[in-house]
């Protein structure tokens, strides 16, 4: 009975019902869509951070993180290989690197950079570099003098494939080491800052130039899933020598981690704001519907309907409005998110600001089930809760006063 009465009552004033349903639809849609957008932004930040050489985990010599100089290198890294092979899960990859600060220069320009020596095959499994090549080719093991530079750096230096640049840095003898490298490939990264910051050579070339022998600066590890980070980190810390330290991407990217935490709060606050705005609409509309029907509620009470039944009847009307709004809001939310998922949202116009916070130029929205469930529960349950006020008001009309109402 409540369902039948409730359903028919909401359509007594189709325009009003359409307005409030539209408000709920927009509210739910915005919760899902904007929540997906924020999650997409956060996820892109994490992916970019991890792909931009961070990986899920890194192993360093103690002291390297605070002072990334050649003296704080890992000696005899081959001893680590066995531990890594044993402890890392299937489909995990790792790559050794030499990574020091240096200067790159050519006839026209010079600039500070991060000089990175990589094992080409291993590096291709761990970071963004190989798929990011847009001109020339990727490094091969035989490249003694080959170098990869970023597109933005090439543009700044007015240079191109086949030309030379000189890299200078401090070697293990605390002397300035320098070498000329020939540009074999140019890469394009998500962020221009990455293109300007990093240059890549083969690991042996870097070790040779810096008199490092077989020492390396770090090992970067990429796991099949982010959920495995903490357990793998704990396992590694257990077996690795005391002079080495293992750090997770959260520790290596503290700003990204802080922004992620902030996003969780943003999403919660957004949901709250949307709901509060919607709640006023729901309460107002339901109150209007109740006060328009004062005499009818008086009649219902006169006929013997209990106050709690009247409350239930009014709540049933809100229930239908909320169900319709929630279902449609979810549909629109999923449709618009999926429509943008393939190509993403291009925020190039804001690229300078986005780079500052580590955001990519193109953002792909991501729907998390916990956000959808939260949005639906917030709207539905709190919507029913705020409808209690007009419902109780309806139940409190005395038959005599209500029937006399004009």
């Amino acid at each position: 009975m409540y369902l039948q009465l409730g359903w028919r009552n909401i359509w007594r004033n189709p325009r009003r019902t359409t307005v409030i349903v539209t408000a709920v639809v927009i509210g739910v849609w915005s919760m899902i869509f904007l929540g997906a957008l924020m999650r997409g932004v956060a996820d892109q930040m994490v992916r970019n951070g991890i792909a931009t050489l961070t990986g899920h985990l890194q192993i360093h010599q103690k002291g390297y993180r605070s002072d990334p100089v050649i003296e704080n290198s890992i000696e005899a890294p081959s001893n680590l290989e066995q531990a890594l092979t044993r402890l890392l899960p299937p489909n995990a990859h790792w790559a050794p690197r030499v990574r020091v600060n240096g200067v790159v220069s050519n006839a026209r320009h010079s600039d500070g950079i991060t000089f990175v020596g990589v094992d080409p095959a291993r590096e291709a499994e761990v970071s963004f570099v190989k798929p990011a090549i847009v001109e020339g080719r990727y490094l091969v093991d035989e490249d003694e003098y080959g170098i990869l530079i970023g597109e933005a750096l090439a543009e700044k230096f007015e240079t191109q494939i086949g030309r030379k640049v000189v890299i200078m840095s401090q070697d293990t003898n605390e002397e300035i080491a320098s070498r000329a490298f020939r540009i074999v490939g140019i890469f394009r990264a998500e962020m221009e800052a990455t293109e300007k910051q990093f240059v890549f050579v083969t690991l042996p070339a870097a070790q040779q130039m810096l008199s490092l022998h077989d020492g390396i600066s770090e090992i970067s590890i990429l796991l099949p899933s982010r959920e495995q980070v903490d357990s793998v980190a704990a396992a590694l810390r257990h077996v690795l020598p005391a002079e080495l330290e293992v750090q997770t991407w959260q520790q290596l990217l503290p700003m990204v981690t802080a922004v992620l935490t902030m996003y969780d709060s943003f999403i919660f606050l957004w949901f709250l704001v949307v709901f509060v705005a919607m709640a006023f609409g729901i309460v107002n509309t339901t109150l209007m519907a109740v006060f328009e029907r004062v005499r009818e509620f008086g009649l219902l009470k006169a006929l013997g309907m209990r106050p709690r039944s009247i409350v239930l009847e009014v709540l049933t009307e809100s229930f239908f409005v909320l169900v319709i709004g929630v279902v449609l809001g979810n549909c629109f939310g999923f449709l618009t998110t999926n429509a943008l998922f393939r190509n993403g949202i291009d925020l190039s116009a804001l690229s300078a600001g986005l780079e500052y916070v580590g955001m990519a130029r193109v953002v792909y929205p991501i729907i998390l089930s916990k956000d959808v469930i939260t949005a639906n529960l917030v709207v539905f349950l709190l919507g029913l809760l705020v409808s209690l006020y007009p419902a109780v008001k309806a139940a409190r009309f005395t038959p005599v006063e209500a029937m006399a109402h004009t």
Partner: protein
């Protein structure tokens, strides 16, 4: 046993700073099967008395028994229960739930009583036939004339076999022909089904139909007349 017993009933309303005595020490008894009218001008207290008998209002003093139930001792929930099972109402206007059809309006009280769907439907249709509304089961109130709406209201009032039907100015919004037809129907229900009817009215036609006429003025019964035959 009397179906209604009112003893020294007084009801006072506060209207702003003024106290208005709607009923002043009224005593009244009504036998089962009565077809009575409470008559008087506007403000005489007839509707107040009707509301008190129906459990819609409570007196400030005095005692009211309806079908043996003392209303003073009842909670709001118990009064609602009494109205549901013992009392049928026909109001001057706004009798029906607008979103329900004629048959659904009649079924509504039985629904509240917990009667099964099949029985509800059968009884509702039968009573609508009785009041001359066969083939109008699915019409909504907006699709019925004033007289037809009142017939549906009467059908709803008596379908659950109440002890008493209280009708507050039921013909007030009807033309004389329609009102006459309605009263004929209610009289027939009273005679055939022995349902007690009490009207509140200032309509001469209703007073003429009533077998007992109780005249009220200024909150007091000044004449209580049983018509011969």
């Amino acid at each position: 046993m009397n179906i209604v017993e009112c003893t020294n009933v007084t009801k006072i309303y506060q209207q702003g700073r003024v106290k208005v005595t709607a009923l002043d020490d009224v005593s009244l008894s009504m036998e089962k099967g009565s077809f009575a009218a409470l008559a008087g001008p506007s403000g005489s207290g007839k509707t107040t008395l009707l509301n008190i008998i129906g459990g819609l209002d409570v007196p400030d003093s005095g005692r009211v028994l309806v079908d043996g139930n003392s209303l003073q001792e009842m909670t709001q929930s118990q009064l609602a229960n009494l109205r549901l099972h013992k009392v049928g109402f026909v109001f001057q206007s706004y009798n029906l739930i607008p979103v329900l059809s004629a048959v659904e309006n009649v079924e509504f009280v039985m629904l509240l009583q917990g009667i099964a769907a099949k029985e509800r439907r059968e009884r509702a249709m039968a009573i609508l036939d009785d009041v001359g509304l066969e083939n109008k089961y699915r019409r909504r109130p907006a699709e019925l004339s004033g007289g037809q709406q009142q017939r549906v209201a009467v059908a709803r009032a008596i379908v659950s076999s109440p002890s008493i039907v209280l009708a507050d100015e039921p013909t007030a919004n009807l033309d004389s022909k329609t009102g006459n037809g309605l009263l004929e129907m209610m009289k027939e229900m009273n005679e055939r089904k022995k349902v007690t009817f009490i009207f509140s009215t200032h309509d001469r036609m209703v007073m003429d139909y009533a077998r007992r006429l109780i005249q009220i003025r200024d909150g007091k019964i000044f004449n209580d007349q049983l018509k011969p035959g």
